[in-house]
C-alpha cells in the first residue's frame, strides 16, 4: 500500500513546504509593498530573518517555564504535519490517512492552544491579551471551517483530504454552486486563521490591535524563528488547502512521476496568484475592531451553512 515513490513524494512535499513557506510570506510582503507604493523588501527576507534568529541567543524572561520552551517545537511540528497531509503536488501521501480534514482542524487547534498557553506563560499583559484573542478567533473560525469541510465531504463522500481532492480534481466538469459559498467562507476563515487584515495585522506592533504578534512578544532567537516559520507554514498550508479544494486541477493523482513534476510549476503559479490576491485584499481592507471579528466570521459561518444547504437541496442527486 505504501510505495517507495509515495514515501519519496511525501518527503518531497514536506521539504517543499518547508522551503516554499517563507518564500510565500516574502512574496505576500513584496506584493503588499507594491500595492502600497512602498519599496519592497527583498523577496528572500524571511530566510534572512530565520537565519539571523537561529543564530541569536535565546533571551528568556525570568518567568518563562519549560512549556514556553517546548511550545515552539510543538507548534512547528503541528504545522509540518498539516503540510504533510495537505496534497500540494500529489494526492498519494502515505501520511494522509493519519489525519482527515477533521483531524486537520484538530492539528491547527492543537497549535493554537499551545501558542496561546505559551503567550500566557510569562505573565505579561500583552501575552494574555493575545492568548485570549487568539482563542476567540479560534472558536469563531472553527465551526465555519467545519461547515466548509462538511460541504466538501458530502460532495466527495469522504472526509479524507486526499480523497476529496482526488474526487474534485478528476470529475467531469459539473458546476457546484455550493462550492462557491464554501470557497468564500473558506477564504474568510483563512484570513482570520492566518492573522491577516481585516482580522489582524501581521505587520503591526501597535499593541492594542494585534493578536498574533502580541502572543509572541516574549519569544526570541530560535524559538521566534520556529514560530515565524510555523506561521508561514500555516499560511502555506491554508493556501495549499484552498487551492487543493477549490482549484484542484494539476495535482498529481497517485504516483505518476511526470504529473508530479508538472505539478510543481503549476503550484508555484497558483501560490503566486494567491499571494498576490491576498496582498491585494489586505491592502484594500482596513483592520476591523476585535469585536467586529465575530460578525466577520459569523458571515463566514452563514455562507458555509448556505453552501451546505445548497449542497443538500440542489446537488444531493449528483
Amino acid at each position: 500500500m505504501i510505495s517507495i515513490s509515495g514515501l519519496l513524494g511525501q518527503a518531497f512535499a514536506i521539504l517543499l513546504a518547508l522551503v516554499l513557506a517563507p518564500l510565500l510570506s516574502g512574496w505576500v510582503g513584496q506584493c503588499r509593498a507594491w500595492f502600497q507604493s512602498r519599496t519592497a523588501p527583498p523577496l528572500l527576507l524571511p530566510y534572512y530573518m530565520l537565519q539571523k534568529l537561529f543564530r541569536k541567543d535565546v533571551v528568556l524572561a525570568h518567568g518563562a517555564s519549560s512549556l514556553f520552551r517546548v511550545a515552539p517545537f510543538v507548534i512547528f511540528g503541528c504545522m509540518v504535519l498539516a503540510c504533510a497531509i495537505i496534497p500540494s503536488l500529489s494526492t498519494d501521501l502515505p501520511l494522509a490517512p493519519a489525519a482527515d480534514a477533521l483531524a486537520l482542524v484538530g492539528v491547527f487547534g492543537l497549535a493554537r492552544v499551545f501558542i496561546s498557553l505559551a503567550a500566557m506563560d510569562v505573565g505579561t499583559s500583552f501575552g494574555s491579551l493575545g492568548g485570549r484573542r487568539e482563542m476567540l478567533i479560534g472558536f469563531l473560525a472553527e465551526p465555519a471551517l467545519l461547515m466548509v469541510i462538511f460541504t466538501l465531504a458530502m460532495t466527495a463522500q469522504s472526509t479524507s483530504v486526499a480523497t476529496i481532492v482526488e474526487t474534485l480534481a478528476h470529475r467531469e466538469l459539473v458546476i457546484y454552486p455550493s462550492l462557491a459559498f464554501a470557497g468564500i467562507a473558506f477564504t474568510f476563515v483563512s484570513f482570520a486563521e492566518n492573522a491577516r487584515v481585516p482580522v489582524d495585522n501581521p505587520a503591526t506592533h501597535l499593541e492594542l490591535t494585534m493578536i498574533h504578534e502580541a502572543m509572541i512578544l516574549e519569544y526570541s532567537g530560535r524559538h521566534l524563528a520556529l514560530i515565524e516559520w510555523a506561521a508561514s507554514l500555516k499560511l502555506y498550508a491554508y493556501s495549499c488547502l484552498g487551492l487543493a479544494l477549490f482549484f484542484p486541477w494539476g495535482i498529481a493523482p497517485g504516483d505518476n512521476f511526470l504529473a508530479l513534476v508538472a505539478a510543481i510549476p503549476l503550484l508555484l503559479l497558483k501560490l503566486a496568484i494567491g499571494g498576490f490576491l491576498l496582498a491585494g485584499i489586505e491592502t484594500v481592507n482596513a483592520k476591523m475592531r476585535i469585536f467586529r471579528a465575530p460578525e466577520f466570521l459569523g458571515t463566514a459561518f452563514m455562507l458555509a451553512v448556505l453552501g451546505l444547504l445548497v449542497r443538500l437541496l440542489l446537488e444531493s442527486k449528483v
Binding site: 528568556l60 511540528g77 490517512p97 493519519a98 484538530g106 494574555s128 467545519l146 479524507s160
Partner: protein, 669 residues
Amino acid sequence: MTSLLPIDILLIAACAWLAVGLLGLVAPRNTRFISKTLFPLGAAIGMVAGFVALDSLGGPAQTAVLVIGLPDLPFHLRLDNLSAVFVLLLGFVSVGISIFAAGYFRKGEGTAPGLLCLEYHVFLASMLMVLLADDAYAFMVAWETMALSSFFLVTTDHRHEEIRRAGFLYLLIAHVGAIAILLSFGVMTGGAGDYSFAGMRAQELSPFWASVAFLLALAGFGAKAGLVPLHVWLPEAHPAAPSPVSAMMSGVMLKTAIYGLLRVSFDLLHTTIWWWGVVALTVGLITALFGVLYSTVQNDMKRLLAYSSIENIGLIAVGIGLTLIFHAYRMEGLAALAMTAVLYHCLAHSAFKSLLFLCTGSVLHATKERSLGKLGGLIHRMPWVAWLALAGVIASAGLPPLSGFVSEWLLLQSFLFSPGLPHPWLNMVVPVAAALVVLVAALAGFAMVKFYAIIFLGQMREPGLKDAHDAGTWEKVGLAWLALITLLLGILPSTVISRIDAATRQLLGAGLGDKLHEQGWWMLAPISPERASYEPMIFLVTIAATLLLGRWLVRHLYHGRVRRTAAWDCGYYFQGPRAQDTAEGFSQPIRRIFEPMFRMERHFPTARDAQPYYSVKVEDHFWHWLYLPVANAVGRVSTLIVALQGGRIAVYLMYSFITLLVLLLVARP
C-alpha cells in the same frame, strides 16, 4: 477458580469495597492506616474489577439472583457487555482516584477519615451495583445509595453554609430524578407488575407509553447526568466536594446516568421513535453549549470543570440522540458509529475529567485556594501536576492526539451521514447541528486554556503561592495513571473500540468491529479508509519526530544558548502579576459575544468612586426561569394550606363536622 464467573468476582469486589469501608470505622481517626492501607486496597479492588470487566467483554451475559431484596423481587444481577464497558470505566478510573486519595486525605477535614473511607467505598460499591442491577428495585436501591453516599462525601466539610446548600440541592435533584426513573420503570412494566429488567424487556409497549417511559428516563437520568435544565446541582456540588470525590462524581457517577439512559433506551425499550433522538439531540446541544459557555466565565477552578462536565454530558447526549435517530430508521451501521462515539466519550471524559479534578485537588492542597484570581505560575512549583494536567487539558479541549478528540471525531463522522436520513427536516437540520458541536469543542478549548493558563502559567498572583509544593508520590501516581489512560485512549482507538464494540453490538445488533479488524491497530477508519481515517499514533509520532529532529538540528547546526532576563512586554515598566489577565478578564470576549446567555450583575467604576472597582457576577438563568418559580409556587400553596392549622379548636371541629357531613351526603356505595 474456574467456577468463579466474572459476575461473581464483581460481586465479591463490591463486598470487598464495603468491607474496606467498614474497616475504616475500626480506627476512624487513624489517618495513616486508612490512607496508606485502605485506599490502596480499594484501588487494588478497582483494578481487579476493571480487568474482570475487560476480560468479560464480548462474552455472553451472566446473571445472578441474590437472596436479598424484596420478597417477590430479590436482587437480580446481570453482567452484559454494556455493563462491562461501564464497569471497566469504573474500575480503572477508580484506581487512579483511590491512589490519589491515599495521598490526598492527610488529615481529617470536617469528617473523620474513617467515615470518609466508608462513604467513599460505599459510593464505589453502589456504583458497581447500579451497573450490575437487573431489576428495578436493586437498581433503585443502588442508585439512591450512590446518591446518598456521594451526598455525604460532598458535605464532608459541612461547616460552610454554601457546602450544605450545595449538598441539599444535589440530593434534592437526585431524588426528583430518582422518582422520574422509578416512574419510567413503572411505565415499562406495562402493567404486568414484573419489575425485573427481563420482565420489562418482554413487554411490548405502545408508542405512546414507550415515549412516556423514554422521556421520564431522559429526565431522571438527565437530572443525575446534569442535562439542562436539571444541571444546577452540578456546579454547586462539585466545588463543594473534596477533589477525589468531585473526580469520582464527574468522572464516574455521571456516566452511570448515561449507562441508565442507554440501558433504558436501547435495551429495555424495544421501539425507538425518531423524535426521541431529536429531543435528546436538542437537549444535548443546549446542554453542551450552555455548559461550555458557563464554564468559560467561571472564576472558581472546580466550578469551571463542573460546567465543563455539563458540556461533555451534553455532547454525549447529542451522540445518544444521533444513535436514536439512526436506530429508529434502521440505519444500524451508522447508529453503531454514533454509539461508539458515545461510549468512547464516556471513557475518555471519565479519565480526563477525573484527572483534571484531581489536579485541582493538588492545587487546592498546595495553595488552599480555589479561586482562579488568586492562582498563577504554579508550573514552577508543581511541574508534575502541571504537565499531567496538560494532558487532561488537551484531551478536554478535544484536540488530537488525546482521548477527547477521538470521540469528537467519531461523533462528527456520524453527523456527516445524517443527510442520508429519510426525513426531509432531519437531513437538513442535523448537519448544521454539527457546527454547534464544533463551536462547543472550540469553546471548550477556550475554557481549558483559561483553566490551565491562569492556574499554572504566568506570574503568581498572590505572594503566598511561592510556598506551594508539588503533589506527593501517591498523588503523582494517581494522576499519572489517569494521564496514561487518557493517552492510551487517545492513541489506541481501534484497540479500544474493538473491545467495547461488544456493547454496541449488543444494543444495536451491529458494530464497527469487523471493519476495524481488517485494518491495522494503529488506524481508525470506521467506514473505510477512503472515507475517513485517523491514525493518532502516526500523528503523535510525526509531531514528536519533528519536535525532536527539529531540536536536534537546531542545536547541532546552531547552538542551545539561553539567557535569562526580565520580560520585555513592549517595554512596559509595570509588569507585576496584577498586569496579567484575570479570570474575569480572560472570559470578557465570551461574556460580550454571548451576552444574552448570561444573567450578569456588573459594577463599573465611575470617575467619582473613592475606591473604584469592577466586578461581574454571572448567574444561571435557569434559577430564575425554573427553580425560583417552582419554589415560590410551593411556598404559595403552603401558605394556603397552613391556614388549615389556624389554632382555633372550633374551626378544627368544624372541619371534622363538615367532613362527616360531606361524606354522609356524597359518599354512596
